[in-house]
């Protein structure tokens, strides 16, 4: 009966050898390819560093003016725009300006990368059921796998710093934009697509003139989610050497600095709320045409 009492597990030595084998082959891989991969990500690194430098070098009143202007352009709401400006003033007054600029740079670049990669992937997925069947579980893994588990190989490959942090953020934040692009495109009314076909649209015309515009509200919800998830990763990214609001939060956890943690945490929340409200309002404005009869 020992078969039922004890799970028929692999021999302990075999298991150890297996793990060792995987570890050593990955180390081998990172030793021989690490530099090449690092070089591949260099442009990203320079982009991020220079964007951060630009934000830090710009005088603060200009930054606040830009924040207020962008908020207004996105939401067409003076209240929201004023709220954003006041939040940034308070953040600066409480000495978190530089960290906030670093975080804004990271989030902006990460969101940009996620959109640039995620939307084309979503488009490809919407076209092919097979591709959707392949990519969906990968997205599930990206969203649910414990972050530290994929942080480790990234750090082994690229070391500690901005680029691995950025990659970690992107891995976590990209799934929503891919999923919602795919969903949005698949939800476009079949009859409208048939009409587009009946007038002789080619693939590009159909995609850019009909499908993408009609899927835009969903795609925009995806962008919004991506920004939120990127912000959620700020503290974890700071563990592998990314500067920003996450660093003081991490310090406060280690040293029990309540006030420091609270202030920086609230700064992250403030950023999240501003990004969220502005992008949501913008998404709503894209759907203006859906409101029937309002001005007839």
């Amino acid at each position: 009966m020992s078969f039922f009492d004890k799970f028929p597990a692999m021999e302990r030595t075999d298991l150890r050898d297996l793990k060792k084998g995987i570890d050593s082959s990955f180390k081998e891989f990172s030793r021989s390819w690490g530099e090449g991969i690092e070089a591949f990500f260099d442009p990203l690194f320079y982009f991020l560093v220079n964007f951060e430098k630009l934000l830090l070098a710009t005088p603060w009143p200009i930054i606040i003016a830009i924040v207020a202007a962008l908020s207004y352009l996105g939401s067409r709401s003076w209240k929201l725009s004023a709220g954003a400006a006041v939040s940034f003033l308070v953040i600066g007054y409480l000495g978190m300006w530089n960290n906030t600029m670093s975080t804004v740079a990271l989030i902006s670049v990460a969101t940009f990368i996620c959109i640039a990669l995620g939307i084309p992937i979503g488009i490809a997925m919407s076209k092919s059921d097979r591709l959707q069947a392949i990519i969906t579980p990968i997205l599930d893994i990206m969203q649910t796998i414990p972050i530290f588990v994929y942080l480790l190989p990234v750090v082994m490959l690229l070391g500690i710093g901005k680029v691995p942090g950025l990659i970690a953020v992107c891995v976590y934040a990209m799934p929503p934009i891919v999923r919602l692009t795919n969903l949005g495109l698949r939800l476009v009314d079949k009859e409208i697509l048939e009409a587009a076909d009946a007038f002789g649209s080619n693939y590009r015309q159909r995609l850019f003139r009909v499908q993408l515009p009609l899927a835009l509200p969903n795609i925009f919800a995806g962008v919004n989610q991506t920004i939120m998830m990127a912000l959620a990763m700020v503290v974890i990214a700071s563990m592998i050497g990314v500067k920003g609001l996450g660093v003081p939060v991490l310090q406060s956890i280690q040293n029990q600095y309540l006030a420091l943690g609270l202030m920086n945490g609230l700064a992250i929340v403030a950023l999240a709320i501003i990004f969220d409200r502005v992008s949501q309002q913008y998404g709503k404005r894209l759907q203006r045409h859906r409101e029937g009869g309002s001005d007839v």
Partner: protein, 349 residues
Amino acid sequence: MSDNKIEIKNLYKIFGPDDKNMVKLVADGLGKQELLDQHQHVLGLRDVNIGISASSINVIMGLSGSGKSTLIRHINRLIEPTVGEIIVDGENVLEMDQDKIRDFRRFGASMVFQNFGLMPHRTVLENAMYGLNIQGVVSSEGEKRAQHWLDRVGLSGFEDRFPAQLSGGMQQRVGLARALATDADILLMDEAFSALDPLIRADMQAILLDLQDELHKTIVFITHDLDEALRIGDDIAILRDGELIQKGTPQKIVLKPANDYVADFTKDVNRARVLTLDTLSHEAGSKKGLPLESNLPIEEAMQKMVESKFNLVTVMKNNKAVGQVSLDDMVAAIAKPKPTNSGSTTTYR
């Protein structure tokens, strides 16, 4: 048959994974239900042969499931046939490659849809311009042409609205303007007015007839409504279970239904409005009647006879008497037809 703009020959459409192999079974007489039960394939169209004449309104009529919407989508190949030919101006649409079929859709045949198929994110003007955008017409020129057609269908002043802000009838006018703007010879209308309420539908029919008087397009019009078919059709084809049952002028369909199925269809029709004097005209006797034009519907002829106290009509064509019709003839024609089975062995199931 040579003046036919579109010639549909031996067209079969079977839905299912093994459709090509099912054709033979269907051609050998396997019915729709048997095909579904025994082979899990759905019969769309069975050996359809229709000539569609140029510059006229060709109505294809049938109840839901008769394959009429499937048939019209074969003409611009939104649906691929199982086997068959569709010849438009001497060219087989079904053999065109991707580029050619796209050009055919852009320049040769435009379409109007049952649920309008408008793009909600484009304004009325932008919707009307869609076909022109796709053709590559520069936008200033396209705007002018789209505006012209919007004016023609009575939508001046609504250019900047979005479709959701318009009523159904107005939305379909946009659909019509969009289709007309491409200047295609062929206009495919798939139950174009079926989603509209009766008054608006009559309006739209009038607009279409008005435009057709001047444009002389080759129109293929799908409908399930016999009154609509009789009102606008120069020629009517009746489909049932994917098969063509009868094709002819409205008068012929009403006077000589090919079988009980068609007769059943036509029994509630206002025959006095459909039948014209020439359909009843027979050789003139010596008696003089009220002279009336041969294409006058009986309904109007009877009214004129009552007013002028005649009980005989002399049928006139180009100012010459070609025959006569008595009041009795008219009453007999309007009375419900006696069941006939002439010319067909198909029984009404």
